[in-house]
Subunit: 208 residues, 2 copies
């Protein structure tokens, strides 16, 4: 359906606004807006209030930049976390993804993106200086670089790695290899090649 | 990704609210909310304002129930429309879809649903009485029933058809047949059967 004429300017505005969201075309925007129109006024107020509340009151952790309801996020202020290990990620979502693995008990550092000259994002646009300050404080033994395995991710990895060289600190990166449940014949050559080169003894291989 | 722990209650609330919308799971809800978080405050205000404005100020046409910015919608108040023909549809979206065909120049009547005993929707929940009043006013020659070809749609068709019998009025329904671009082998038997029974002379067939 190619929507050309809206029966109401108010409807058109709301559809326009929804279709600015990622992955939302005019068609799904219209579906969502018509759904909101059918909901009762209180429910709709709860919907818009949740967005306004988030936008107005959300904070970013002063230590790691993660989203938080207070000045220091729950992870950074926890007494049960290993404060000597810091995992560097691109964004908030990556923190959530890693937390859900329940395999990491250290702290995080959210960069806010990766170096991307094509989109005009340089090192100064990211919270790299803040990371260096954390390292300088001398409490960190290991930095885990957990950026996406893309050209931009690798560039950012390398940039930060170089900056960290002056400190006596371990810099590690996520293991690359065949993903759990993937069939070998559909694994790309680079990944498969690295998985062969970096093969592990059978005993060391995680059983799950 | 199975999202179990949110770094912020405000974020969780907003994600919950978005995932109430049709076709939106937790994952896309999170993606949209994080996008809103990256947008500047003014843009987000425009977004929530467009919803509040719609909900508070939208009107429903007093004649046909279509969504409108005024008491009588643009279609009903237009002087260029054929006021003797009324097309009965289920909802606002159907009006938009038919308008986009540019093949209909009459008026509409939005029922607000179809009779659906399973969901507790009876004739009195729909604007059927209002339709009858329009017919009684004596200005209408033809009623086109354009409901979905489902059991509920057919039930509603039949109910309205019976009520219209006392008036001297043509009641028509949308033609059923093979859809443009459909392959015959994938057309269901009922549709194909009807298309054969109701076959048209080659000259009469629409060329497009």
């Amino acid at each position: 359906m190619n929507i050309q004429s809206y029966p109401s300017k108010l409807l058109e505005n709301a559809v326009e606004e929804f279709s600015k969201l990622p992955g939302i075309g005019r068609r799904s925007a219209l579906r969502m807006v018509l759904h909101l129109l059918r909901m009762n006024s209180e429910e709709v107020k709860m919907f818009t209030k949740s967005i306004d509340d988030l936008k107005e009151n959300v904070k970013f952790c002063k230590v790691c930049n993660n989203i938080s309801d207070s000045d220091i996020c729950e992870i950074c202020s926890s007494k049960r976390r290993d404060t000597f290990t810091v995992c560097v990620v691109e964004n908030i979502k990556d923190v959530m993804v890693i937390e859900n693995t329940h395999q990491f008990n250290g702290l995080y550092h959210v960069l806010g993106g990766v170096i991307n000259p094509m989109e005009g994002i340089g090192p100064s646009d990211l919270s790299i200086d803040k990371l260096m300050e954390r390292v300088k404080s001398g409490q960190i033994n290991e930095i885990i670089m957990a950026l996406s395995p893309t050209t931009e991710g690798d560039t950012t990895n390398f940039y930060i790695y170089k900056k960290l060289k002056e400190f006596n600190i371990n810099v590690t990166t996520l293991a690359r290899g065949v993903a759990f449940g993937d069939e070998l014949e559909y694994t790309d050559e680079i990944t498969l090649g690295r998985a062969i080169v970096n093969r592990v003894k059978f005993d060391d291989a995680p059983s799950k």
